[in-house]
Each structure stands twice: as C-alpha cells, then as structure tokens.
Symmetry: C2
Subunit: 121 residues, 2 copies
DNA sequence: TCCTCATTTCGACATATAACGAATTATAAC
DNA sequence: GTTATAATTCGTTATATGTCGAAATGAGGA
C-alpha cells in the first residue's frame, strides 16, 4: 500500500505529470526541466525527489549536472505499466504538446546555454 | 489532463484505495463501507463523491440506500485499466485482506442490522 | 586554494485536503 | 402529515502539500 500511495501521490500533481511525460524524450537535467516548466529550481528539485521516491524516475549525476530519466521498465512491471498508462492518458493534451516542443528546442538549440545539454563529464 | 488529475488525486488516499478494492465484491451501500472503514458517514460520502467525480465508481439509489460499484469497464479503457492496475498493486496488502474479510461478513451476516444489506426498495 | 554554478535542503507562507459533527435532504414507514 | 433513517452538504479544524527565496552542498575550473 505504501508503494502504491507513493506512486499515486506522485502522480497527483500536474507539474509532475508534465515532468514524467517530458522524460519520454530521454534524459533531461534539472535546469532543462526548469526551463520548460518555468518554476523555481528548488521547486522542480522537490518534484523530482517525489517522483524518485516513487521509483518512477532514475537519476545519474554527471559533473555538476543531474540527469533524470524514466524508470527502467525491467525494474518493476507495476511502475512501467503505470507510466504507460499516464502517457496514454495525456494524449492530445495541449500543455503536454507544448512541452514536447519546448523540450525539443531545449535539447537541440542550447549548445553553451545556461545548461549545456549534452556535456558529458 | 483534467480527467487524469481527477483520477490520480482520487487514488492518492488510502481510504479511497480501500473503497475501490472493496468494491471488487460487487455493489456496496454507504453504510456498509462506513462499517468496514470505521470512518464517519460524512467522510465516507465525501470520499465516494471524489471517486465518482473521477468516474472510477458508479452509483444507484434504491430506496433510502445508495449503492456504489466499480465503473463499467466498457465506459472507459483508461479508467478500467487504471482500476486493474490498482487491484494488482494492492495484492498481498494486509489491510486490504482484512477489508475483504470484513466485507464478506458485512454482506452476509447482517440481515436486519443497521444496514439491511440486500433490501431492494 | 578559491570561485562558479547546478542542484538540493531549509524555512516560511498560502492553499488544498481529510476528518468530524451538525444541519439538510430525500425516502420510506407509520 | 409526522417520524425515522440513509446519505449528503456545510462549517470548522488540523494536517499535508506546492511554491518560493535563501542558505547549504558538491563538483569543476581558475
């Protein structure tokens, strides 16, 4: 029950749903997500920690940046089924569509922007 | 997004999860659910209205009693997939097991109890 | 070493939510 | 009609949650 509630509570916020669906595009670092959502970095960090606590996302630190991605589907069927369900549920949502475009822009257009997107190390 | 959030918020509470899984047994009236959860009738009624607003449950009034049941699977694939996911998620949960037994008792043992279980009209 | 910057943690505040009892509504029995 | 009762709605209270800015943490680069 505890795990279930961690997941459902994590999903009970529109910004966290947006983050989750944004991560379909692959790994994103915190500052990229901040850019898309337009929230304070501290707020986004809190959202990510809630998603992380529910095991809906994983993270890796590379240099100064922390990258978040959707949880490995092999880790838990319940989690991956749930993520798939969320993705299906937001089809045709306007905000989600806008986010998708913003993510594409943030990933490609920003080479040495505030957040150097693909800088390894 | 609105529908999705109505559902995830509805699922983000342990008592509502308990109600939802209790309804696997079939229709239950409010007073039966009150009996199992041990909450005030007004509280249970509020929980049910939240589940109803998310279209996770349906209801029918018969006489003075209002019966609630899980939403018709034909109504929405998203909703029924979600209910199935919840059911799978609570397998082996202690509280849920206890609820199942309480429900069985409440359904069968109470003929002219506080809530006459199967009284039509 | 010291500085810069991405991220997290902390403290504060506003809003949302769960719970209750009291009052209200609706239906049936008398 | 009047009464009894199942359920809902309302008002209140306590707790949880989302948000921010400021301070702390941690990893590179000068």
């Amino acid at each position: 029950m505890r795990d279930l509630l961690a997941i459902t509570k994590a999903l009970a916020d529109s910004n966290r749903i947006r983050i989750l669906t944004m991560l379909r595009a692959g790994e994103l670092c915190v500052c990229q997500i901040v850019e898309v959502l337009g929230l304070a970095p501290s707020t986004v960090s809190t959202h990510l920690s809630i998603l992380y606590g529910a095991k809906l996302v994983e993270s890796s630190k590379r240099g100064r940046w922390v990258y978040y991605r959707l949880a490995d589907p092999h880790a838990s069927a319940l989690v991956s089924d749930c993520i798939e369900w969320v993705i299906r549920s937001v089809e045709n949502d306007e905000t989600i569509e806008e986010d998708r475009e913003k993510v594409a822009r943030v990933i490609s257009v920003c080479p040495e922007e505030l957040c150097r997107t693909s800088n390894q190390s």
